[in-house]
């Protein structure tokens, strides 16, 4: 955050200054890290505004994703935002022109067309219109899988996309993530465990990314700070009272079988941190050194239809080479009779085979193939295709009229 573009601006030409002042998006999850980052940024802006004849260096938009529609906590987000404003000082926030936006995670679904994606035995992925009426909410969509880790992975996709879309809608050129070093280490390891190793560099590197032909500058200002330090800071500043310790403490009592991949990894780091404190910084450091993987055999880089991440090598080809799908030849008469019984039993089901002629082959990344593998063979309904910038703006205007927070 020490870059020139965030520093105070001087001059009399307001138009010129306005053009030079970037709009910065800060997603707040009400976890300690993002609250602490907001606190620090408000102080910085306050300091900037106190300077003589100076204009503040950047405009802040705080976005809060409202997931109350499908999580069981029934938290009133508006109520919480109000509390947060009071703690930070409502007058001060107004003076610094800080905008708060609450976006329902449901918006990820409504702004898109839902499609059914399915995977054949030989890992080919298809998408097509489902015969049933496709009018599902996010909760129903996530409940298509019973696998908790898959649900968590999908929810992360929704969150990330929602933040990026809000950045476009709010005309922000910078996004600040409040992830602590501990959280980033969790991310590196869990991406590796989910087969998403190629995404580590994008998730960890501070820099410019392209989204729907717009450039977004991603920064992680708390990347060198341990979560334990952030917790202390938040205690000292009285922020812990408004934090919704979303994931803290809830995993301890669960049995291993009931945990998700992220929870297991989080627990792992918390337990080794005591004896090997250097592990967290080591993992983040090596994660930051990673680059995009090279492609093989002239494979054209594609984007996954489900998570929009880049696919560098054909996962279907990789899986086919290590998983054999043929059985051993039949020998006995009895076995042949069994096979016939089986074929007769599936005959009825075959008539409404999953793949229709209109269905098209779609690219799916390895991580999403694994996710889809947990959902059974009846296909998975998901809002595919990213909306264009114009579509995002159109969608956004609607929610604004509906009286969201300003």
């Amino acid at each position: 955050m020490s870059e020139e573009k965030f520093k105070v601006k001087y001059g009399k030409n307001l138009e010129d200054i306005k053009a030079k002042t970037p709009t910065v998006l800060l997603p707040v999850s009400f976890g300690e890290s993002s609250l602490v980052l907001l606190d620090i940024i408000v102080s910085q802006l306050e300091e900037q505004s106190a300077m003589n004849r100076a204009h503040i260096g950047y405009k802040l938009v705080v976005v809060i994703i409202d997931e109350s529609d499908f999580d069981n906590t029934k938290i009133d987000i508006k109520d919480h935002v109000q509390k947060l404003k009071e703690v930070s000082g409502t007058d001060l926030l107004d003076k610094l022109d800080i905008k708060f936006k609450i976006i329902k995670s449901e918006s990820y679904v409504t702004s898109n067309r839902l499609q059914k994606i399915f995977l054949t035995h030989d890992f080919q992925s298809f998408s097509g219109k489902s015969e049933s009426d496709l009018d599902l909410d996010l909760k129903t969509i996530l409940l298509q899988t019973s696998d908790k880790s898959t649900r968590e992975d999908l929810l992360n996709i929704v969150r990330k996309e929602t933040i990026l879309r809000t950045a476009i809608a709010e005309n922000c050129s910078v996004i600040l993530f409040g992830h602590s070093m501990s959280k980033l280490a969790d991310d590196v390891l869990s991406l590796a465990v989910k087969g998403r190793g190629s995404e580590i560099s994008d998730n960890l590197t501070d820099g410019i990314i392209e989204y729907e032909r717009s450039n977004l500058h991603i920064l992680h200002p708390l990347r060198d700070i341990l979560f334990s330090e952030i917790k202390e800071y938040s205690k000292l500043c009285g922020l812990s009272e408004i934090s919704l310790n979303i994931s803290e403490g809830t995993t301890v009592k669960k049995s291993i079988k009931n945990k998700t991949i992220n929870e297991l990894i989080k627990d792992y780091f918390r337990s080794v941190e005591v004896e090997y404190p250097e592990v967290i910084s080591t993992v983040v450091k090596i994660g930051s050194k990673m680059a995009h993987p090279p492609t093989q055999d002239d494979f054209q880089i594609k984007n996954c239809i489900l998570c929009s991440n880049s696919i560098y090598n054909d996962p279907k080809h990789w899986l086919e080479q290590i998983t054999v799908h043929g059985g051993a030849p039949l020998e006995l008469e009895e076995e042949k009779a069994n096979l016939e019984a089986y074929l007769a039993s599936v005959k009825d089901k075959k008539s409404d085979s999953l793949i229709h002629e209109a269905d098209e082959v779609v690219p799916l990344c390895y991580g999403c193939i694994v996710n889809l593998g947990t959902t059974g063979q009846s296909g998975f309904i998901w809002p595919t295709k990213r909306p264009s910038k114009q579509e995002i703006l159109d969608e956004y205007v609607l929610t604004d009229d509906e009286g969201d927070e300003d």
Binding site: G195, G326, L339
Partner: protein, 382 residues
């Protein structure tokens, strides 16, 4: 007595691949319900595919199988023999064992290897730490403590395998490292921040230029649990005791994590290997010599001169120095391939020699490690 008529198998109980035999097991890799025959079929074919894809062998090649008598290497020997005959690889297979000198553990497992030698009709060569380094693992542990046992054993074994192979005139060693081992390595490289190993740790074949020995791991995509099942169903004769010198504590934590992850998502072992294959490090920025020169100007001309001639030598904390031509260097003392002037094994042995007792007690058996003690205790009876 007439044979009792078999009840027909219910359709829901049939193997998911052949749909004709009763499923007897759940495949650890993807939880498919399979019959024994189909399991053997997919298990063997998958390994054959890996061998073909990586073009591991050429016809007439002599290959040494690193055999410890444990499940991995026993299954490796058995399956390579099977595939060699079935697909006509034309290989000449030899068993190569390392005797680390762990009384009560390695002597028993070597007995298993000797039985395997007869079962599979393969020649066997045993190379011992005693002959190569004049140390046994029991002595090393007695001297340096149990904590660093794996460090010593790992470094020495690597060299011992190479030397054993060379002795037999063989240039290719296959080992029984399985998918679980590979995934564990990927995790360990991340947790240790090991940039030197990160990109290549999941390769099936490793060969540094200048090294006469190629190493490969045909079990790279094979689950440990499937190896155990294969050995169980094929009734293979293997030695199943763990080494008594426990693994390094930190590696142990990663192993537990991996087991926990596997219990909630069986595919995660392959997922981690997939990630490992996609790790790529950013290009390291070359040091700007001009910048160095500028910084050195007026302060220390000697520094800038050194930077100019580019003859800086990195001295590592353990006193070793890195040489600029990285591959193909030889250890000054033993002639083994080494990135430094003196290889790691020689450095370790030298450190050990310093703390070796000058006088020995005749008939002393106290150096024998925990394995020996356990064995003695097992044989006690009331």
């Amino acid at each position: 007595m007439p044979e009792p008529t078999k009840k027909p198998v219910k359709v829901s109980q049939l193997c998911e691949l052949c749909h004709s035999r009763k499923a007897v097991m759940k495949r650890p890799k993807n939880l498919q319900k399979l019959c024994k025959q189909c399991f053997f079929h997919v298990f063997e074919t998958e390994i054959h595919l890996t061998i073909q894809k990586e073009q591991l062998f050429y016809k007439g090649e002599r290959v040494a199988i690193g055999a410890s008598g444990g499940k991995d290497s026993t299954v490796l020997a058995s399956i390579l023999k099977t595939l060699n005959e079935r697909y006509n690889y034309g290989l000449e297979l030899v068993l190569l064992s390392i005797d680390e000198g762990i009384v009560g553990y390695r002597d028993d497992s070597l007995a298993t290897v000797k039985r395997n030698q007869k079962q599979y009709e393969m020649p066997l060569e045993i190379v011992s730490y005693r002959d190569l380094y004049n140390w046994t693992m029991d002595e090393i542990v007695a001297c340096s403590g149990i904590k660093s046992s794996c460090t010593y054993c790992g470094v020495l074994r690597r060299q011992a395998l190479d030397r054993g192979a060379l002795k037999l005139g063989i240039h290719h060693v296959v080992t029984g490292h399985n998918a679980d081992d590979m995934a564990e390595t990927v995790l360990m490289n991340l947790l240790r921040g090991d940039t030197a190993r990160l990109e290549n740790s999941v390769n099936v074949t490793t060969k540094s230029s200048g090294s006469p020995i190629k190493r490969s791991k045909p079990f790279k995509y094979t689950y440990q649990k499937e190896i155990v099942l294969y050995a169980h169903y094929k009734k293979l004769d293997y030695f199943s005791t763990e080494c008594t010198y426990a693994p390094e504590a930190f590696r142990g934590t990663a192993r537990v994590l991996l087991k926990n992850l596997e219990s909630i998502r069986p595919s995660c072992i392959l997922d981690i290997i997939h990630s490992g294959e996609h790790f790529k490090l950013k290009e390291r920025k070359k040091r700007d010599l001009a910048k160095n020169r500028k910084a050195g100007k007026g302060r220390n001309t000697a520094t800038s001169a050194a930077a100019n001639s580019n003859k800086e030598v990195e001295v590592r904390p353990d006193g070793s120095v890195s040489l600029h031509s990285r591959d193909g260097n030889r250890c000054e003392r033993c002639g083994y391939l080494s990135m430094n002037r003196v290889c790691k094994a020689c450095i370790l042995i030298e450190g050990l020699e310093l703390s070796r007792a000058k006088v020995a007690i005749e008939g002393d058996t106290s150096v024998n490690g925990a394995a020996k003690l356990t064995k003695t205790l097992e044989q006690l009876s009331f």
